[in-house]
Amino acid sequence: MRKLLLLTIVLSTGLLFIGRLFYLQIYDTSASALSENNAIKAEYDIPQRGRIYDRNRNLLVSNQPSYDLMVIPREVKPFDTLALCNLLSITPEKLKKELKRARVYSPRLPSVIVPTMSQGEYAYLGEQMRKYEGFFIQKRSLRDYQIDFGANFLGYIQEVNQGIIKRDEYYKMGDLIGRQGVEQQYEEVLRGKKGVKYLQKDRFNRVIGPYKDGILDIEPEEGKNIQLTIDATLQKYGEELMINKRGGIVAIEPATGEILALVAAPNYDPALLVGRERSKNYTQLDADSIAKPLFDRVLQGEYPPGSPFKALTSLIGLQEGVVNLNDKVYCNGGYRYGGKKPLGCHHHKSPVQLISGIAHSCNSYFATVYRNTIDKYDTPQEGIEVWKKHLESFGLGNFMGYDLPIGRKGLVPSSTYYNRTYNYPKYRWGTTATISNAIGQGEVLMTPMQMVNFTAAIANRGWFYKPHIIKSISETDTIYSKYREKHITTIDPAYFEPVVQGLNDVYNYGTANFLKIPGIDICGKTGTAENYTKINGTTTQLTDHSVFVAFAPKDDPKIAIAVFVENGYWGSRFGGRIASIMIEKYLKGEVTRKDLETWVLTHSLEDEYKKPLEGKPFPINDGKKISAKFLAEENQDL
């Protein structure tokens, strides 16, 4: 027994120690994680962000050096606070606050004290820095915009927040990350990869050499330059045309799906979101809840497409074999069904066939075609599903897969949607309940981007590429394969020709006949979309949105365009004019229809936008009714 005492104690002590070592070395290693290690200093080398060019190799965005004053709180020795504040031109209270914030974040890790100082500020501060232990200067690069437009698709860069640091360990306090637009979409391409050197320190915080002979060090990788499909000249022109208006213009090249212009109005100068004023300016833009400059109407706005949708109604009708080119429809100011109020129509030549129906935008004609399409099937449910399938082949009703970080699905209603709306099977619903779909005023919703996409599909006579904004990335010559994949619609190519002819006749003798551009054979379609808003809880109708889609030239199309002007009244008024001169600008490089240009530049809709805010009843659509006589007069004014 006595022999065993020491033996037992020795053995159990051994076990206890091995257990303790296991705990310290294997189980709970929180104290010794590399990032937490007080013996290792990581020095980052942040590469230049890639530059951004337009499709014609014009430089849009480059970089300017910027300097952050950083601090590692526990390395700070007492210093002359006032002198440093004078150098930085900040108040001692501000410095104290920032230092406290840094200490709370981490005494060991660097925090930003003063972000984004200019070259001038740095030059002065640089030589003084050695007096302030624990402070150092981190060089970064900020964006230097060569243009004052395009903010909506360029995006901006901002300092990472705590959430991002937690999600992605690449980012450290003070790092910059792309937000919105291509800056966000191509963040990893543009940013490159920052380099890091791990240095071994001793307990006096002196660097004693590379950590592990530098085997963990990472060489920085330069950010890659990217070339966008945007045509800067066209973009700039589009933004100028949209001054004092709200809405958007989107133009793409039908043969490739490349986005030529992406105008969201109102827009702002991208340089507003750079440097020390960034957050102040951002807050200001964000707080504008009326004009909503940060809301990209082209990608995020969902609107009823209006009359341009009639082209799709025609195509589906032809594909389903329910309409013949020679079929005539008499229009007597509206389409009557089931004893209810008719689907009204404006005054035009009657009767119409498919091509002239498109040209005159006859509601009765397309209501007939639509009804025949749905009624071809035994139940309206089946009919709607077939109709929906055709629309989806044009990229409608879902995200489009373009390379910008925001978007909306739009809406193509399904039979389930109507069953739910009409409480089927308790109540039945028929084709006429959905008749407004025929003319794009029903439940269908599209973003302007989706509108331009179906226009491009019509221009191509039955196929499209996904719209995209990336043209090339330096050092890599492959563009993502999804933008090289042809999407073929469910409509037979042969059926496109009459529809294209109809769209062409819109310019020849139809609703846009005054918008012809000499030497360019344009196909287009006007749209006038009714819309409502809530004022003090009551739904109030506002002046119609002016919608226009077009492509040109008719054969071998080079550009497809959708224009959307909020409360711009009828389609050819703002939308049509803008579309025509944009097409001319792109194809000819100059605008000969100065009359159209001047009209657009001199007409503001600001008064229209003020109406609902003034708190008193107001007339819409200028208090006039669109009649042939009125239109003729209006167009003569030009």
Binding site: R2, L6, V10, L11, L24, Q25, N37
Partner: protein
């Protein structure tokens, strides 16, 4: 047959191999902890690892000397060695050199010697000599007191140097005493004192006193058929309560703040990692940095950055932990355990009482050093600065442990010749 002329083959090679393994790993650890990448030359007295190599070389000379001495030499001269050792400790007071606040060294030029490292050997020899004496009966209080005196005198001389850590090591002699038949009551007393001490610091004297009363009542009721002495129970309860309250008093009024801090940190009552808990914290970080297989030789960030204070001496094990990881440090723990167990096993085989008692003392001393040191480095025990045998830098310490061990190896090598 002269005992001094025995063949080398009869020494216990297991012990010698473990010893060689420990000093090799120990030296590598010192090399790593004192490594300076900018040093020009290995052969410089500026380098602790080079100096330690000299101590090791001289240590081998001492080993040879011990192994060639007559076995009876140690038993015969133990009293004289003991007396000389005590005198050398006392001479420290007028002549010693003060290093880091303790007057524990004799200085001969730049060379220093720490007599307390050798006093352990002398005490072990003296205790073995006294207990193995045919006239000594450890069951008698008189002889117990004499044995205690042999142990206590060097400890009491060392405490005011001040070096309470080294004095604590003398508690190791409890193990040979117990093995030789001292009453189990001492064991219970010792264990109770330590338990009550720690519990009092953790929970305060009142709760512990009440707890003692409750346990006493339970035990009394359980054993009441055996007619226990009420007086005895009452006495024990009173003594325990008195002890807990005095512990509190001593802790608050006699201990200095730094001592209190050290206890409080280990007991988890304070979590200051910047000043008083700094050593332990840094040591734990370094060890934790090792992971399974360690950062590799000379690759430990905490070791090469010299973050752990006293890493070449008391905190040497943290460099093993960081650079060789869990596997490496477990091997070192295992080597120590094997060493101590082998000494115990060999001690039990000794026919000669002197050798057995000495062997137990060696095992006890190594065990206490090992436990207190590793316990401190891994944050399980309060900071008590005593070296890790064969590892920590220092000539005196290294020689002291080498002599301690090799006298036993010599004694053991002779056991077949005993009758």
């Amino acid at each position: 047959m002269s005992s001094g002329s025995r063949s080398v083959g009869s020494f216990d090679w297991a012990l010698i191999l473990i010893y060689l393994a420990l000093i090799s790993i120990g030296w590598l650890s010192i090399y790593s902890a004192s490594y300076n990448p900018n040093a020009d030359t290995f052969f410089s007295l500026e380098n602790l690892h080079f100096k330690q190599l000299i101590w090791i070389a001289l240590g081998f000379a001492i080993i040879t000397f011990i192994l060639f001495l007559d076995t009876k030499f140690f038993e015969r001269f133990s009293s004289i060695i003991y007396v000389i050792s005590i005198i050398s400790l006392i001479l420290l007071f007028p002549l010693g050199k003060n290093i880091n606040g303790a007057t524990s060294w004799f200085a001969f030029g730049s060379f220093t010697l720490q007599p307390s490292e050798f006093a352990k050997v002398a005490t072990a020899l003296a205790l073995a000599k006294y207990l193995s004496d045919i006239q000594t009966n450890i069951k008698t209080v008189r002889d117990q007191l004499r044995a205690f005196a042999i142990i206590a005198i060097p400890a009491l001389v060392i405490i005011p140097q001040p070096d309470p850590g080294s004095a604590l090591v003398y508690a190791a002699f409890f193990f040979p005493l117990y093995r030789e038949g001292i009453a189990t009551g001492y064991l219970i007393l010792g264990a109770s004192v330590i338990t009550l001490f720690v519990l009092t610091l953790l929970f305060g004297p009142l709760y512990i006193a009440l707890g003692v009363v409750a346990i006493a009542i339970l035990l009394f009721l359980k054993n009441r058929k055996k007619r226990p002495s009420k007086l005895l129970y009452l006495g024990i309860v009173l003594a325990c309560s008195l002890f807990t309250f005095s512990v509190n008093y001593i802790f608050e009024n006699v201990f200095q703040q730094r001592h209190r801090d050290r206890f409080n940190i280990v007991l988890g009552k304070e979590a200051d990692t910047q000043s008083i808990g700094y050593n332990t914290r840094q040591s734990e970080i370094a060890i934790g940095n090792g992971g399974w297989t360690g950062q590799g030789f000379l690759q430990g960030t905490q070791t090469t950055g010299k973050f752990v204070p006293a890493q070449d001496t008391d905190y040497i094990f943290s460099s093993v932990g960081e650079e060789w990881g869990f596997l490496g440090s477990a091997v070192v723990i295992l080597l120590f355990i094997l060493l101590i167990l082998r000494i115990i096993q060999l001690s039990e085989k000794q026919k000669n009482e002197f050798s057995r008692i000495y062997g137990y003392s060696v095992a006890g001393i190594l065990f206490v050093h090992f436990t207190v040191n590793i316990g401190m480095v891994t944050g399980l025990l309060p900071t008590i600065g005593i070296p890790l045998p064969f590892f920590s830098y220092g000539g005196s310490g290294f020689w002291g442990f080498t002599i301690l061990l090799f006298i036993f190896i010599k004694l053991d090598g002779n056991r077949v010749n005993e009758w």
